[in-house]
Amino acid sequence: MKKILITTLVLVLVITYSYAQDTPAPEPFTPSKTQFMVRGYAHAGLNYKKTGDEVESTFVGTTFNPLFIFKHGDRLLFESELAFSFEDGQLDIGFEYANMSYLINDYMTIRMGKMLLPFGTFIERLHPSWVNKFANAPLGFGHGGIAPASGIGVEMRGAIPVGSMKILYSVYATNGPVLNTGMDAEGNFDEPDEAGQLMFNNFEDNNNKKGYGGRLGILPFANSSVEIGGSIYGGAVGDRGSSYGNIGAMLYAVDFSFVRQVSAVRGIVDVKAQYNLSNVDQATYIEPADDPLDPDEAYTFENSSNAYFAQASYRPTMAGNDVMKNFEVAYRYSAFNAPEGAEWEQQSTQWSVALNYYMNWRTLFKLSYQSTSQVGGHGVPEGETVQTDGIFVHWALGF
């Protein structure tokens, strides 16, 4: 019996040892050079607006912006962002950007495709709902605004440290903006109320003349708390072969940023501002007659517009109370002045105040009150000032 037990034990040990010899030890995990991520952001909320006696109260959302990132090795990146929203009973899909980048050296990157333009800082850095401290963009951005959001072309960008300072730069060439003449290619009226505005989604160059632009930003202090930037963007904007073929436009922007945790106030103070100026060469446009028997009327105007915003926020990140340190208060003032004599002439001002709560670093609840005063523009009777007050409750999330 004892011999059988010893023999069995020896056999088990021999078999186990042989098996262990045949099974290789697991190798440490080595990630592949190619990586893919889906990131993005979304928001939903409730908008309440009151204009005179007219009240609009509606839930909005969910706006969903997935961002696809493909990392091909250490130097090559492709990224694209789409914007899904529900408008007028239909799913609307926006094509925000799609571009590929190559790191040339430690301080320089080249990229090509459809890209957010570094014209100031709001569009490129601050517009995502989980970054924007308010429910919407300042006046002068978006449809009918004067600040370009994106362009199709090629860009060289990067940063260069100079002593304790840092210089950020970007130079780019795109298809350039397009002039809205109020007429389509066949000479029929098409959005005549927007004649003289610039459109920035130029998927095919309308005149074979590129738009050129750039931004230079300086961070003068070693702690990177202050940034001052200047942007310029311009080119021919009229359609090739049309009477607007020689019309050009020049856009300028200056921006400022101060962000710093200030011990004296036990929290983060964040101040940002941007001023945009748009100058389009003077041109003649046609206003359709109200009565078909009357002749249409030609008119012109000095096509210069400006828009600006300034905002400040405070978050008591050094507060002893864990709840208090997640609150933030913010204030923003913005204005938009469209050219006198244009069908879209308007002078608008807006102020907003917000109380935000950060559930974590990328999720926040935004409660804001906004007051807008508008003279001129769509739907505003001549000579009247329209006042719109609104309350917005938004939940924004980055992922």
Binding site: P31, K71, D74, D106, Y107, G158, G163, V171, G217
Partner: protein, 88 residues
């Protein structure tokens, strides 16, 4: 059109100058830690990300994305990513 030519004349030397400058840049970034760069740079646009939000591989990808988006240098990016990977 004159404005456009002026713009081109302004941007071309700027582009050439930047290429030359980028090949011989000096910096005091070398004196900063990854944690310090994380605290100084991310907050310029959004709240500082929690290191535990992503794993080591994801931080590499996000680092490359943010290097381009936020105009970071290679050294800044590497230090920030290494800090996030060490603290997640």
């Amino acid at each position: 059109m004159k404005n456009i030519k002026t713009l081109f004349v302004f941007l071309l030397p700027l582009a050439v100058g930047l290429i030359l400058a980028s090949s011989c840049a000096s910096s005091k970034i070398t004196m900063k830690s990854g944690a310090q760069l994380w605290g100084e740079n991310c907050v310029r646009c959004h709240a500082t990300p929690s290191p535990s939000a992503y794993n080591d591989i994801d931080w590499e990808t996000i680092g490359l994305h943010m290097r381009i988006r936020a105009n970071l240098t290679a050294e800044e990016t590497n230090k920030i990513v290494e800090f996030l990977q060490s603290a997640n």
